[in-house]
Structures are given as structure tokens and as C-alpha cells.
Amino acid sequence: MENPYLPYPVRIDDIEIATEDKSLKTFKFVFINKEDEEKFAYKAGQFAELSIPGKGEIPIGIASSPVEKGFVTFTVNRAGLVTTHLHNMKKGDVMGIRGPLGNWYPWDLLAGKNILIVGGGFAFTTLRSSIIYMLDPENRSRFGTIDVVYGARTPGMLLYKDELIEWEKRDDINMHLTIDSPAEGWAYNVGFTPPVTEEKAPKGDENTYAIVCGPPVMIKFTLPVLEKLGYTHDHIIMSLENRMKCGFGMCGRCGIGKELVCKDGPVFTLDQINQTPREY
């Protein structure tokens, strides 16, 4: 068994500014040792520790999709020591990635089901991974309808905008993009994510699951909307965050009751979350 603390060496292949306020950048990494890419086989919804020698590590959701080969991408908000350092790094720089870590959205359970995705702000990374995965020609027939409600403050704060516009044009995915207040040239919804969800999202039933990721305030107002639409708590899937170090269930800090967010999560159903202390 390999040393789980040892990161795979990677090289930064590309850096893109992801939002108009420049607080988020998308980093594309390639593995320095080709065989590491195979070892890093992941599923949509998992995360990894980005590891910068001398600075530390930071757990970030994987934004690329398992169907995209040859690289992995992460969209990172500049917030603390490691992420600020990362934002100052350049193409070609070498660092480490440890993972994949945590569980994933329950793709076996979701097969054959209708999927509603509700995302807000920059919590759209593993949702992007999931959408790319489901839209892949190999996988699209395995799912029913796909609805996506995605909101941000302004058009420029939406992540992966080119892809969003492309998805808008497709007929096998129903996009419901929204921004907080009207903006010039914006052709889609205006308003916060919860009311747009209430208006546009499909009704909940046995065959429909909702995956919800966003800032706490969005979650707070979206959950009652989903309940109203008929989604039961075991059909609402969420991804939690907590301070983490090891990422595989040993260092002890990310616990919510007996569950460890890093290992038993980050993906939980609302039903599961309701049975644990709200310590996240």
C-alpha cells in the first residue's frame, strides 16, 4: 500500500482567471509521472489535497471530470495561506496533488434517475465535473432529465461561462442560469437561486434527485423550496466542507458526530446530515 501522505508531483499546465473579480483561478495540472494519472482515477464529487511544499495543503473539489483525460483541474478561491501562494504561482511550476479523496455523488443510485443540480457562487466545481460526466455520450442515456439551476451575483461571477452558454444551447440539459440583479446583455433569469429553483425546477418524486452545492445562505433558503417541490430528505444530496488535514479519516478534525467529512463524506444526503451534529 502506498504512503497516503505522499502527493503525486504535478506541473501547472495552465492557469485561467475564473471570475471577473479575479478571486478565483482555474488551475490545470498534468502529472509528472504518467502512471500517477491512472492511480488518481476519480469520480465526480471527490476532492484532493493541493500540496505546496513549505506552505501546506488545501482540500479542493475536483473540477475536471473523469471523462476528461490527460489532466486534472481545480478552481480555487484565494482565501488563505496556501491558496494565496497558489494564485501567485506560474505555468510550469511544480507542486503536488494528493487524492482522490472522499466519496462521490452516488452515481450507481442516480443511474436512470432525473437529476436536478442547484449551485451557487463558486461551489460549482464538482457540479461542473458531474455535468460533464453525465453529458458524455457514453453516459447521457444512463440518466433521465437533467436540470441545472446555477446562480451568481453577476454574469462575470459565474464559473465556466463558456460551457454554461454551450449547455444552454443543448436540448438534453435544461439550464436555468440566474444572477442577483439585472445586467446589460443578460438574457437569462434574474433573482436569487432559491426562487428560481422554485419556479423552474422539476417536481420531486421517487425518480428525481437533487444535488445542492452553494454558500450557506443559499442552502438555507433552497432546502425549504426543495421540500415544497416534493423532494424527500433522502433525495437531496449535499457536499459538506470542514477544515481538513489528512483527508482520509485519521487526523480527526473534520468530524461531525461519528462521520468524518473527509472520508465518510463530503457527500451526504440531507437525511444523513439531519442525524449528525451541525458542526460544519
Partner: protein, 346 residues
């Protein structure tokens, strides 16, 4: 079960002989202090077999307070610049002499965390695997000892390779595993004790257990839901005097939480695994400033809930406590896990 008799006159000689194949650890009297600590014995040093519980538990043998896990160079002229490497580490055989039976049992609880079917902490596991635990039965339990009620006890064999029982001018050495047998052989101790030895050990065990005056019960905790206990009304009172000093977590043989930190000196650096504690706000602080366990009461509750409820539910086992009493002895404000357990068991 094989029982070997070790004449105390042969004790130091046997230890010396075993050093050819083992690095020895044992309780060492701290100069000018009233307590002992567990540590590696110097070449001519013998373990203090009369020591009471060491102040810190012996968990540090496999889980040092600070341990180098990885190393790196930031020298741009090096082809390994920014690439983490595992330093070469050796894990020679270690004999842990005179460990308390419940301290050895604590290793089994900690093992559940570090050695799982999915992932293995190589540092803890390799160090643990290199250990041979030569325990010394506790015949004079401390007033704070409640080990008999935690599924352990003063003669608990579960975590040991050999159990030594002081029989006056000799030790009766009960061989529990092949590892233990190999150590006794390396020390040159092989004289079979008489037929009455097993009975004698049993009698001394009963006598020691009878001296233990306190206990905990946790049967009802098992039945209660996490949320019922989490929302109980006694946490504020329990946490009232706590200063969040973290001493309880450092002295505890079963507390395993750790931090990972990078330390750079010049262009070289190491990634360290260091003891951490759920008593500290930084343990759970998010970068955003949000802290899910911001208040003292939340952190105190976390420690007791982890030990007495979450562990039990997660592993369908007993509690994450062997009843050594160290946290009670060292707590500057007299918080007593036995009382908290009683409140939770209600």
C-alpha cells in the same frame, strides 16, 4: 499458556542480552520529579519497574509528539525541487518493557484509526508492528484507576505480548504471543514456572481488581441517539471550569488527533505530523473565519462525545478510554471523565 519464571537477579542481565536484538523502552524516573515518563532506555539504563503510571502515556512510541513524514527541497537547481520525498526510516525491533496493561490495550483502540482496511498510516503502523509489548501487571492500582469497567483492567492481556507479574523475588512471565516468546528467548529467560503459577497469577489478578474503587457504566449511552446526547443540558455545566488547556488530550493514551505542518529551514524542509487537540479553536477553524466548534462548550462536548459515544457507534465497540485516570489526575480544574460518563449514561 506458557509461564516463565524470571528471577529478579537475572533481570538486568536478561535485559542487557536482549539489547542485541531489541531497542528497549520503559518507564524512566524523571530527575527531581515525582513522576516517570516512557522513553527509550540509554545503553546501561534499566526500566523503573516500581514506577506508577507515567505522566504522559506511552502512545508516543508509535505516535511521537512531532514526527517527520516527508521532506522536500526548494532549491531550484535540484531536479527534485518542490517534490515531496519519504525519508528513509528504520523500524528496528523495540521491546516496550513495563508498559501498563491498559496502556497497551489503548494501542488497540488507536490502531482502529491508523490501520484500516482502506488506508494505513505507515508511520504509526510500522512503528507499532516493530513493538513487542512486555507489560507489567498493576498490583497496586491508583485511586483514579477505573480500567476494570472499560473492558481493560490491571492484568489485561489484550494488547500485550508478555504479561509480567511481580511475585516478590521473581517475575512470572505469561507468554501471550509468539512475538513475546521470541523476546523472552532473546533475553535468555526460559525457565518454566511451576504448575501453580497460573493459579497464582489469577489470585493476584483478583486481588488487584478488587482494589479498584471506581468504575464507569456506558450501557445506556449505547442506546441513546447521538443527537439526544449532543443536545443534553449538562454540557454547559461540564465545560464551565475548563480552560481548554488540552492537557487531557496530551496525557491520554487513546487521543490520536494530529496536525500536519511544513517547516522550512533555508531551502530544505520537512512535513511534520504533530499532536493536535480538539480543545483548541484552531483545530476546526475555517479559512473564512467560520468555526464549527467556536465555543469552549462545543469543544469539551466533542472530546467526551468522541470518546464515549462516536467511537462506540463507529466501531460498534466499547468506549475510547481504558480507564487509566491520567486526564483526571492532570486536569487543572478537576474535570472528571467518570462523572461525565455518568451524566451521559444518565
Amino acid at each position: 499458556m506458557e509461564i516463565i519464571k524470571i528471577n529478579k537477579k537475572d533481570w538486568n542481565g536478561g535485559l542487557a542480552k536482549s539489547r542485541k536484538a531489541y531497542r528497549l523502552y520503559g518507564p524512566i524516573r524523571v530527575a527531581d520529579k515525582y513522576f516517570s515518563e516512557f522513553g527509550a532506555l540509554a545503553e546501561d539504563e534499566v526500566p523503573d519497574m516500581s514506577a506508577t503510571d507515567t505522566r504522559l502515556s506511552p502512545k508516543s512510541i508509535a505516535f511521537p509528539p512531532s514526527e517527520v513524514m516527508l521532506e522536500y527541497t526548494l532549491d531550484e537547481n535540484s531536479e527534485d525541487c518542490n517534490i515531496m520525498k519519504v525519508p528513509e526510516k528504520e523500524y528496528p525491533h523495540r521491546a516496550i518493557i513495563g508498559i501498563r496493561p491498559y496502556d497497551a490495550a489503548a494501542y488497540l483502540l488507536v490502531k482502529k484509526n491508523f490501520d484500516t482496511s482502506e488506508v494505513r498510516d505507515p508511520y504509526w503502523c510500522d512503528a507499532y508492528d516493530a513493538c513487542t509489548f512486555i507489560g507489567l501487571a498493576v498490583q497496586e492500582p491508583s485511586l483514579l484507576d477505573f480500567s476494570t469497567s472499560t473492558n481493560s483492567g490491571p492484568f489485561d492481556e489484550s494488547g500485550l505480548d508478555v504479561l509480567l507479574v511481580d511475585a516478590g523475588d521473581s517475575y512470572l512471565a505469561k507468554v501471550i504471543t509468539d512475538k513475546g516468546k521470541a523476546y523472552l528467548k532473546a533475553a535468555g529467560w526460559g525457565k518454566e514456572a511451576g504448575k501453580d503459577a497460573a493459579g497464582k497469577i489469577e489470585a493476584l489478578k483478583k486481588k488487584a481488581e478488587a482494589k479498584i474503587q471506581s468504575s464507569v457504566s456506558f450501557d445506556n449511552i449505547r442506546q441513546k441517539s447521538v443527537m439526544e446526547l449532543f443536545e443534553a443540558d449538562f454540557w454547559e455545566d461540564t465545560a464551565f471550569a475548563c480552560m481548554n488547556c488540552g492537557t487531557c488530550t496530551y496525557v491520554c493514551p487513546t487521543c490520536w488527533c494530529f496536525d500536519i505542518q511544513d517547516e522550512t529551514h533555508g531551502k530544505k524542509g520537512v512535513r511534520l505530523k504533530v499532536w493536535d487537540s480538539c480543545m483548541y479553536p484552531l483545530f476546526t477553524l475555517h479559512t473564512t473565519g467560520h468555526n464549527p466548534r467556536d465555543a469552549k462548550v462545543q469543544r469539551v462536548r466533542q472530546r467526551f462525545m468522541h470518546k464515549l459515544k462516536y467511537f462506540m457507534d463507529k466501531y460498534e465497540d466499547g468506549i475510547m478510554c481504558v480507564g487509566c485516570g491520567r486526564c483526571i489526575r492532570s486536569c487543572p480544574v478537576n474535570i472528571d471523565i467518570r462523572n461525565v460518563c455518568q451524566l451521559m449514561n444518565g
